[in-house]
């Protein structure tokens, strides 16, 4: 049956052609599918990290901190804490101590050129001394317990062992946190009592030009506080405020701060604290070993008449004028301000 055969042939040809077409079509679609990258629109870790230091998302937990998925900045902070801070701290503190040792070996103790007169002039009231020593005691405790966090595991841990070092460091942590309150109170008292006498004046420029008290035989005149003391006052106030603010941010973690805020607070706190310690080492040297007759101002509250004449002539003049210096000492001249 020829016509039937022809029809079958045609049908077969059509089916084959259709089959090929369908196959080709599928292949083309498959090709297209492969071109579309299902991952192209998806968030990419590397891209997110290039855009920001932290990758943050949504989390089902109430703890907001947990929403930060990755913060490579932690490694940067680690570098600061373990490397930079140690260098900054040791250089600043060792350089200060060496500098003072050099000053002592070159200049030695600054003696009163006329010796002691035997007459005392009241310099600091009991309240002023209380404010000073409150701040000073707190500062020393804060400095030692703070330095323990940075240097303790290198210097102290090998000596006393891990268990004892943990006990010590844990107590030190609480001492550091709670002694901050008397320290800040002391700072406020100091600021309130001495701010007026620490306002810079013209005489301070002359004092600085003459090299303060460090050049022998020269005693530039000064009011109640000389430019050096004023510098310590203002630096201590600024540094104190900075360590207090950054310290309280650390003490109340994640209140208004995120992880970056906490890291920044620690960086500010530790760098300023190291500089502050160096400043106070200098202050302690000048007030004790460096200057004869200086310590008793803060110790007993009164200084020798000749000491006042050499270091704070303008102040002494005022005190005499006010009648605060009862009877002029025998060896003192009528006009102490030379």
């Amino acid at each position: 049956m020829a016509p039937r055969q022809a029809a079958y042939r045609l049908l077969f040809a059509l089916l084959t052609a259709g089959g090929f077409l369908a196959l080709a079509f599928t292949a083309a679609r498959a090709q297209q599918d492969r071109i579309i990258d299902p991952d192209a629109s998806v968030v990419n870790e590397q891209k997110l990290l290039q855009e920001s230091e932290r990758i943050t998302g949504r989390i089902g937990l109430p703890d907001e901190r947990a929403a930060t998925l990755i913060q490579p900045a932690g490694r940067t902070w680690r570098y600061f804490h373990e490397v930079l801070l140690r260098w900054i701290g040791s250089i600043v503190i060792i350089a200060t101590v060496l500098g003072l040792a050099l000053a002592y070996s070159l200049i030695g103790r600054l003696r009163m050129s006329e010796g002691r007169s035997g007459t005392k002039v009241a310099r600091f009231s009991a309240f002023e001394r209380f404010a000073h020593w409150l701040t000073a005691t707190s500062f020393v405790l804060l400095a030692l317990t703070g330095l323990n966090v940075t240097f303790g595991k290198i210097l102290l841990r090998p000596l006393i062992g891990p268990e004892a070092f943990t006990t010590l460091s844990e107590s030190a942590k609480y001492v550091h946190n709670f002694i901050s309150f008397p320290f800040v109170l002391g700072l406020i008292l100091i600021a309130a009592t001495w701010m007026r006498d620490n306002i810079p004046r013209k005489v301070d420029i002359e004092w600085l030009k003459q090299g303060g008290g460090f050049i022998k035989g020269r005693h530039p005149t000064a009011g109640r506080f000389n430019a050096g003391e004023k510098l310590v006052f203002w630096l201590a106030l600024v540094a104190g405020a900075a360590v207090a603010i950054s310290g309280y941010l650390l003490m109340f973690p994640f209140y208004g701060t995120n992880i970056l805020g906490m890291q920044a607070a620690q960086v500010v706190h530790s760098i300023i604290a190291m500089l502050f310690i160096a400043l106070i080492i200098g202050h302690i040297y000048i007030g004790t070993l460096g200057t004869e007759g200086a310590f008793e101002a803060m110790g007993t509250g009164s200084v020798d008449f000749n000491w006042a004449k050499e270091h704070h002539a303008l102040w002494l003049k005022d005190e005499i004028a006010k009648g605060h210096v009862p009877k002029p000492p025998p060896r003192a001249s009528a006009s102490p301000a030379e």
């Binding site: 998806v42 989390i59 680690r78």
Partner: protein, 198 residues
């Protein structure tokens, strides 16, 4: 010895949080502490991804480096563990950790965070293996029993992989080759300083 790692294949994570629950249950983790969590990036938007994250047991771990009392130690399997007896709860490991892994039982005002707690890779702590003291402080010691961490074992889509770094990287590579695209192995570049080359 193996070098134990975690790998979360974000392509497969469906944010079911079974890993979080499994971890809490297995280790009897105290209330408020999550050793593992699931974070969703670009939530509700096209291309969102969920990633299960815990301690990654980093190479050259930052937490161990910054600890002021050196309470961390690294096991032979490169698992990062710490001693709660030595921890003083200063919170520094949390500042240094790239993955937010360290947890504390309390909020922490006035330095009262308490002892740090984190993922132990189900490897317990410094106490004697399988002792009650170890369980009470650190949770299960599955690794000591030859088992992998519970979170990865429980993962319903096998998104979270735990085990020797080379082995899980190989499994991940095979997946990537089969499906034709990667999902990034989140955290690897930060934790282990390496990418999985496919």
């Amino acid at each position: 010895m193996a070098r134990m790692k975690f790998l979360c294949d974000a392509e497969r994570c469906i944010e079911c949080n079974a890993c979080v629950t499994a971890c809490k249950n297995e280790n009897e983790v105290p209330w408020g502490i999550n050793r593992r969590r699931v974070v969703t990036i670009n939530d509700g938007k096209p291309g969102e991804r969920s990633v299960s994250m815990a301690c990654m047991h980093c190479t050259d771990a930052p937490c161990a480096a910054v600890c002021p009392v050196s309470c961390f130690f690294i096991t032979a399997d490169a698992v990062v563990l710490h001693s709660k007896d030595l921890c003083i709860g200063c919170g520094y490991c949390f500042y240094a950790c790239p993955f937010g892994a360290p947890q504390y039982p309390k909020v922490g005002n006035f330095g009262s965070r308490g002892k740090m707690d984190k993922c132990t890779y189900c490897a317990g702590g410094p106490e004697a293996d399988a002792s009650q003291a170890e369980f009470d402080k650190y949770g299960a010691n599955r690794l000591g029993e030859g088992k992998l961490p519970m979170c990865a074992e429980m993962c319903s889509t096998k998104s979270l992989l735990a085990g020797d770094g080379e082995v899980i990287a190989q499994i991940y590579k095979e997946r990537v080759l089969t499906r034709g695209y990667s999902s990034g192995a989140w955290g690897w570049i930060t934790a282990y300083r390496e990418r999985i080359a496919v």
